[in-house]
């Protein structure tokens, strides 16, 4: 059986060098651009996708002993410490580093190089709030009249969900965040598994009953870019309450044990080079980390939050697992914030 299949699936011809890139579902770059790189470098690129950012990193960690790829792209700052602690990445000081915005070079050991960044932010449905008041602060959201308007993603199964949870921890503190989430639960917040489910089944713009959704600060711009009737302004807006949005920086790293270190470095350099960085905004709806790249016109609708919440990768590494567990206990298992706090030793 296996032999027969092997014959059927044998690759037609072995390529000179094939570089395998492990990445998440949202990875996308212009096909022509990729083809140009392949021609110029003589490297054939093979992309492997494995769900979202968290799942992808876990698959790299799980297969540490026998790596399935040469390069890992798409783990963000909330996963950075986990990736570094797992010891799956090789250091590489790319010659492109000086052209990148230094505030995003979060790994002094250069095992993870920043490729792009964006913000997880609250979006609202403009039609719903035309003559209604919007919440003014993050804490406002937990009030019953707003909690029943909000849909969030489960931080245990979604990276924007985790980012929003981290924002609440950073803004409201170790104790306050649990009270906030308890308020949301009592007020009737809706929880979905992932971004697609939240945005396309729960968000009122797409037929759901929730005019507030945890999404990205670039979503309104994408709504305009992909609108059917070519609108002049997006149907959704960013609700940038202080401390409600969270910076996400996405990294690339070379996996330990790669048999093609030279090709892997070439690919990383190219990902940080001008042509690839210029392509990133409208392909993945994030900002390039390179300083000398002009943004496309439609990005004027994508606001950069003035007061995003911040947590260091170290603090995230120490707390994330526990915060997600406590969130699950309070929001899904229905325990009280007080009881959960008491259970902390």
């Amino acid at each position: 059986m296996g032999g027969l299949l092997g014959l059927l699936m044998a690759p037609a011809l072995a390529q000179p060098t094939t570089l395998t890139v492990l990445t998440h579902e949202s990875f996308n770059l212009d096909k022509n651009l990729i083809a140009q790189f392949e021609q110029a470098s003589g490297i054939k690129l093979r992309f492997l996708k494995a769900g979202d950012a968290g799942e992808t990193l876990n698959r790299a960690i799980l297969t540490k002993a026998a790596p399935v790829a040469d390069v890992l792209y798409g783990f963000d700052n909330s996963l950075l410490s986990k990736a570094l602690a797992a010891g799956i990445l090789e250091p590489y000081r790319s010659p492109q580093l000086p052209s990148l915005r230094s505030e995003f070079v979060l790994d002094p050991t250069y095992r993870a190089l920043p490729v792009d960044f964006g913000y997880v932010a609250l979006n609202y449905d403009k039609a719903h709030f035309k003559d209604k008041a919007l919440p003014q602060t993050l804490a406002d959201l937990a009030r019953p009249e707003f909690a029943k308007l909000l849909v969030v993603e489960n931080p245990a199964t979604s990276s924007p969900g985790l980012a929003f949870l981290l924002a609440t921890v950073a803004t409201l503190g170790e104790d306050g965040y649990l009270d906030f989430w308890e308020g949301l639960r009592k007020g009737g917040v809706r929880v979905e598994k992932g971004w697609s489910e939240a945005y396309y089944t729960a968000f009122s713009k797409n037929g759901g009953d929730r005019p507030l959704v945890v999404s990205y600060a670039t979503s309104p711009a994408a709504e305009l870019f992909y609108s059917e009737k070519k609108l002049t302004e997006p149907p959704t807006g960013n609700l940038l309450l202080p401390g409600s949005s969270f910076l996400q920086v996405e990294f690339v790293g070379i996996l330990k044990g790669t048999k093609q270190p030279a090709a892997a470095r070439k690919f990383v350099d190219w990902l940080l080079s001008k042509p690839a960085q210029e392509n990133i905004p409208t392909q993945m709806w994030v900002y390039p980390t390179r300083k000398d790249v002009a943004l496309p016109e439609v990005f004027k609708w994508a606001e950069v939050p003035k007061e995003p919440a911040q947590l260091s990768p170290q603090r995230i590494a120490q707390g994330a697992e526990r915060w997600v567990r406590e969130w699950t206990e309070v929001v899904l298992q229905g325990q009280s914030a007080l009881a959960v706090r008491k259970a902390r030793r």
Binding site: F47, G208, P220, W285, Q333
Partner: protein, 509 residues
């Protein structure tokens, strides 16, 4: 020294495949989690609550589906306009990605649904969804069994039993195994269902399977996940044993292909009206989805060429290609499995249902550990698809095997045909109709969303289901419309495949 019999060879082959494609990878994952964490997990009342809900959902679904399918199966004993069409279409929901089905339900009875009733987050919508998925399977089983009740019932009547008494004392005991089998299969599917409860019921209605997914894929929390997987396996193995017991007691000799009875035209139309109404109501979410999908005709055209996303054309080609390749594996497997079980290889009976019982996420991660050098190869993908589809094929074949007229086989043996020759010249032709039916089901399992989370895959391998998810991962009206258009295409493709293949209606076992 036993002779090399086809049944024995078949059983061995199936075991080898199961060991490679399921037991070894799953074992690798469970091994990571055995030890410390099992106790605390099992002590957490939250997980027991999840188990309780999963059980309630499974049981409620099977009762509901059986209660709906039985009267319907009686209607299907008669010939009426549209009978064959509905019997074929009843299995289409099986192939649709859950996110798409959820969109259909929400378009109809969501917060802003066309009907104006909001069922989101209520158990009602979940049970409806379960009937939507499973009714077709159970209906096909019962349609195959009911005609076989006629002779014994007639005999009881001749011996002086009143119609009701005959039914209670003869009909019901004969029917019970089929009802148990149908209910059991529905339970298996609902208990371990993943997407729909979560999408339509919100996080409150997550099943155990959802917990396993979160624990494994996001947290790498192996001890907790292992505990839950074992718990799930225990429940499902128990139910499967009941189901298999029921199946073996299906002592009715099924007539080759039950022919529907003719009705006078007026009655036939009345019956048709009733059945059509029922199905239109049951499948209304699908119709709502199709209506939305083809509302914007431009969307299909732009989805076809792709733009920023996987082109629909490529996704369609991939879907057909992978379906074909996995059939190459699943067909012989399913056939050999059914054949071996029929020839009395009892050990296989439960093991063959195994793929329906384990968490796909666990198996997928197991593949990475077990076969790192193969990850991202077509071999793993096809193996996974075959694993998920062959049990369905085999379940469809088994009743046909059991219904083969013994006289013919005996005659062949007396006339000196060996087992291999009998298999090729006698049994194979008798089985072909059921095989086509089973193939249709197996295809359904493959063209649907299975495997989406299962293995590492390459973008150039995107199937229709994945192309739909990809579009639903971006904000904006255009990707959304394209996703709906592709979902409509997927539904039509599945329906078309069924109508083509589903000539030999034997029902399922």
């Amino acid at each position: 020294m036993r002779r090399l019999e086809p049944a024995r060879c078949g059983a061995w082959l199936v075991w080898v495949f199961l060991a490679l494609a399921l037991l070894y990878p799953l074992g690798r994952i469970l091994a990571l989690g055995l030890g410390e964490g099992l106790g605390p997990t099992l002590a957490n009342p939250y997980y027991w609550g999840r188990l309780a809900w999963s059980l309630a959902y499974g049981l409620g679904s099977s009762l509901l589906v059986v209660a709906l399918a039985l009267p319907l199966a009686y209607a299907f004993r008669y010939r009426f306009p549209g009978r064959d069409l509905w019997l074929s279409l009843a299995t289409v929901p099986f192939v649709l990605p859950t996110l798409v089905v959820a969109l259909g339900f929400l378009a109809l009875v969501g917060p802003r649904g066309v009907l104006g009733v909001d069922l989101y987050g209520t158990p009602w919508i979940l049970f409806w969804a379960s009937a939507f998925y499973n009714l077709g399977l159970v209906l096909r089983m019962l349609v195959a069994v009911l005609p076989a009740l006629e002779p014994p019932l007639a005999a009881a009547r001749t011996l002086g039993a009143s119609p009701w008494r005959a039914y209670w004392r003869v009909g019901v005991p004969l029917l019970a195994p089929a009802l148990l089998a149908g209910g059991g299969l529905t339970f298996l599917y609902s208990f371990s269902s993943f997407g729909l409860p979560l999408l339509l019921g919100g996080a409150r209605y997550a099943t155990l399977e959802v917990e396993v997914y979160g624990l494994l894929a996001y947290r790498l929390a192996f001890p907790e996940a292992t505990a839950l997987i074992l718990l799930q396996l225990a429940v499902l193995a128990l139910v499967s044993l009941l189901y298999l017991g029921a199946q073996r007691r299906l002592a009715l000799s099924l007539s080759a292909a039950p022919r529907p009875k003719p009705l006078p035209p007026a009655a036939a139309w009345r019956l048709a009206a009733g059945v059509w109404l029922f199905f239109l109501a049951l499948y209304a979410p699908l119709l709502a989805l199709l209506a939305r999908a083809f509302a914007a005709p431009g969307a299909l055209a732009s989805a076809w060429t792709g733009g920023d996303f996987t082109p629909g054309a490529l996704a369609l080609a991939n879907t057909l290609r992978f379906a074909g390749l996995s059939l190459l594996v699943a067909l012989p497997l399913g056939f050999l499995y059914a054949y071996a079980v029929w020839r009395g290889e009892r050990s296989l009976d439960l093991a063959g249902l195994f793929p329906l019982m384990v968490s796909p996420v666990a198996v997928g991660l197991g593949y990475l550990l077990a076969y790192p050098s193969l990850s991202g190869s077509l071999l793993i993908l096809i193996g996974a698809y075959a694993l998920l589809s062959y049990p369905l094929l085999a379940r469809a074949l088994l009743p046909a095997f059991r219904a083969m007229p013994k006289g013919v086989l005996e005659a062949a043996r007396v006339l000196g045909a060996g087992p291999w020759r009998r298999l090729l010249r006698v049994e194979w032709p008798l089985l072909r109709p059921a095989l086509l039916s089973g193939t249709a089901l197996a295809l359904a399992a493959v063209v649907g969303e299975f495997g989406a989370t299962l293995v590492l895959r390459r973008p150039e391998w995107a199937t229709l289901a994945l192309a739909i998810y990809e579009r639903l991962g971006k904000p904006g009206a255009e990707p959304f419309q394209e996703a709906l258009a592709l979902a409509g295409l997927l539904a039509l493709l599945a329906g078309g495949l069924f109508l083509l293949l589903d000539r030999g209606r034997r029902g399922l076992g």
